[in-house]
């Protein structure tokens, strides 16, 4: 097991929410529950400083578990403690009713209001109404001050995207070291991307806290693998991706064994569904696809305040509400895409730095970012959002 030396007092400056949770940002979220409302939501963010939103294609003609998963994702985005208050923006006739989402969000006791394009008499009126509410919320939010919070209150999402053969040698083991460290200090780390754990599931199941958790680990892997088998295709036609293959990854199993390193060495406490909030502290596996944006969205909707994202090929990925700290697996891509990548773990394979040392740098960056330092993806307004759809549209 890797032991890291602490260089600070394990505290950061965060925003305490009415439900007791701690945010690292203080956003007002304009939350469109239907694709028809996303353009109006975007207009509001252009009018009102301090607001964020996201574009998507969902919220109508969805049924069953697919409806529920999308609904849970909307609610999770609003409930994330990085969000001060929410304007839920609907059209009016959609299956994912803005009022239902707002009703769930009200349980957090944060400011939540609903605007409906149909009820308010059109796009311009709805934009004006939403902007007025948002402007009030932003000013209230700005009056809230940060307070000293413990690292144990953080849920850290871990992710790898645009992986190369260095991912499993440098950046992912360094993130694993950070995951261990967060957990040792009472916090939570989310491991996800079930697709990219195919071939490594036995290593994680061995670390499950009990048989039930081990069984669920095998179940989610089998379900993911069966989706490609039922389609009659080699999963390698989609994962590893062409860029992964150019980076030296030959099979999904190879990519998975490298990806699993992000989980560090701690016991696996639970396996949760997409966009669900962890019910336990420690290492948690969220069942998500390998698709970077869908995975990121699931973890943030599950309550992750900060995300660590390793990359060998380079990627701009960011979230509208959670800072994403980008960590390169090799020095070449760090230098080539320095405008997108925050930290470099390529020094590990150059023999210049140990995994522990890079882990310590990442840990210190988490404390800084949680206290307000902007990541490069935030500065570039990289507001990615994508829901893992698990059923057809009707």
């Amino acid at each position: 097991m890797i032991k890291l030396q602490l260089t600070n007092d394990n505290k950061f400056w965060g925003y305490r929410r009415p439900d007791g949770k701690v945010g690292v940002r203080n956003h007002v979220l304009i939350l469109p529950t239907i694709t028809c409302a996303t353009q109006a939501a975007k207009q509001i963010t252009e009018l009102v400083h301090g607001t964020v939103s996201f574009i998507h294609q969902h919220g109508c003609a969805q049924v069953g578990i697919d409806y529920e998963q999308t609904f849970r994702t909307y609610v999770g985005m609003g409930a994330n403690p990085n969000v001060y208050g929410v304007v839920v923006l609907g059209l009016g006739c959609e299956t994912h009713q803005a009022r239902s989402v707002a009703g769930e969000l009200a349980k957090t006791n944060k400011p939540v209001e609903v605007v409906s394009i149909q009820d308010h008499g059109g796009t311009l009126t709805a934009i004006a109404e939403g902007a007025k509410i948002a402007a009030r919320m932003v000013q209230e939010a700005s009056a809230q001050t940060r307070e000293l919070c413990d690292i144990s209150e953080l849920i850290i999402g871990t992710e790898c995207g645009g992986s190369d053969a260095c991912s499993g040698i440098s950046a992912n083991p360094a993130v694993g070291a950070v995951s261990d460290m967060i957990i040792e200090h009472g916090g939570t780390a989310i491991l996800a991307e079930t697709t990219e754990l195919i071939g490594a599931e036995h290593l994680l199941a061995e670390r499950a806290v009990d048989d039930r958790v081990a069984k669920k680990a095998y179940q989610v892997i089998k379900a993911m693998e069966n989706r490609s088998i039922q389609m009659g295709v080699d999963i390698r036609t989609g994962n590893p991706s062409p860029g992964n293959i150019r980076g030296g990854l030959s099979t999904l199993e190879e990519k998975s064994l490298g990806a699993a390193n992000k989980a560090g060495s701690k016991q696996l406490q639970e396996v949760i569904d997409y966009a669900e909030s962890p019910t336990k502290k420690g290492l948690v596996w969220m069942d998500t696809p390998g698709h970077d944006i869908e995975q990121l969205t699931g973890m943030v909707a599950g309550g992750a305040q900060v995300v660590l994202f390793t990359t060998g090929r380079g990627t701009p990925t960011g979230s509208p509400i959670a800072p994403v700290i980008k960590i390169s697996t090799n020095t070449g891509i760090y230098e080539k895409m320095s405008e997108n990548i925050d930290l470099n773990a390529g020094t590990i394979i150059e023999g210049k730095e140990s995994i522990e040392s890079v882990g310590t740098r990442i840990f210190e960056e988490i404390a800084k970012v949680s206290s307000g330092k902007l990541t490069k993806a935030e500065v570039l307004k990289q507001h990615d959002f994508g829901i893992w759809r698990i059923g057809p549209t009707f």
Binding site: C166, G168, A200, I229, Q230, G232, N261, G351
Partner: protein, 108 residues
């Protein structure tokens, strides 16, 4: 699973002593030698063709259908005989998992 510190003069990494491939830390030209550590011993082999940075090179003879091992775990199966020093990639290994194409009715 991983070693914590790597030596500076090593040009490739073998993740586990059970592995039959190494990962290159620099691109190699055909005929160029590379250094790796196996069972605590430094070993030298020659690349049979040019191989890019980050890609795998065989450090043992691998027979067709034999398991390819990295991180001490199976990463796939050889689709051809592979000599030590050969590039190991999608042209000579395949994944075993998620193979709907090999299932009944699959798109071969």
């Amino acid at each position: 699973m991983s070693k914590s510190v790597y030596e500076q003069d090593i040009t490739s990494i073998v993740m586990s002593d059970n592995d039959n491939v190494a990962t290159l830390l620099k691109g190699l030209e055909a005929g160029e030698s590379f250094l790796y550590v196996l069972n605590g011993q430094k070993e030298v082999l020659t690349a049979k063709q040019s191989i890019p940075f980050g890609h795998k090179i065989s450090i043992k003879s691998i027979q067709r259908s034999e398991m390819v091992v990295k991180y001490g775990e199976v990463i796939g199966a050889a689709t051809a005989d592979i000599e030590p020093g050969e590039h190991v990639h999608v042209h000579n290994i395949e994944g075993i998992r998620g193979r709907g194409d090999k299932a009944e009715g699959g798109q071969k």
